[in-house]
């Protein structure tokens, strides 16, 4: 089945950002075809410029960079969110791809399961 996850939260503030990502990893581990969209403030989860030296919490970007190891290769952000948040795409995880609003609608149409967090 095709599982699509729509994330909208910045990392660190609420544990649901990290635990929902764990759920996506579990879906891939159980052989589902998984796509992730980091929309709105969730785009900050993809930022390579996060302070990795802060040891209070495991760096979020660590699990983002490990996604391809779990065979999750469809990792997206929305071009509009980049613009509205003054984020340069060069600072995002290299395996994340830009998606237009139309492409997102197509992705949603093709998904068997969509979960938003």
């Amino acid at each position: 089945m095709t599982f699509l996850y729509l994330f909208t939260r910045a990392p660190y503030g609420h544990s649901i950002a990290r635990e929902a990502l764990d759920m996506a990893l579990a879906s891939a581990a159980f052989d589902q075809h998984v796509s992730l969209v980091f929309a709105q403030d969730a785009i900050y989860q993809l930022l390579n410029t996060q302070d990795k030296g802060n040891t209070e919490k495991k760096p979020h970007i660590g699990v983002i960079n490990a996604l391809p190891l779990y065979e999750i290769e469809n990792i997206y952000y929305l071009s509009d969110d980049c613009t509205s948040r003054n984020i340069s795409a060069t600072n995002l995880a290299p395996h994340a791809k830009a998606l237009s609003a139309t492409e997102l609608a197509d992705l949603m149409r093709g998904a068997d399961r969509i979960q938003s967090f």
């Binding site: 729509l6 929309a39 929305l78 997102l104 609608a105 949603m108 969509i114 938003s116």
Partner: protein
Amino acid sequence: MSLHILSSPSSLNRCRFSMSDGDALILIEDAVVLAATRITLEHRNIRISALSDDVDRRGISPIAAITLVDYPGFVALCAQHRHCLSW
């Protein structure tokens, strides 16, 4: 076609990016305060409902464009839509 389940007033702006023409929207919990306001959406043909239990509990007077549904109505809306997205 998706049903967007909004549970707080800020959920509305959070779900906009994922909406399509013909989707439906239900206001529950604290999002029912939106039922008293005119909701402007970029998409067409969006039916907006509000959970009557939560509306009544808070003493809110919904505007005419909002359809009030009870719990069985909420379940029926979920049954009618392939995807139910909570925001």
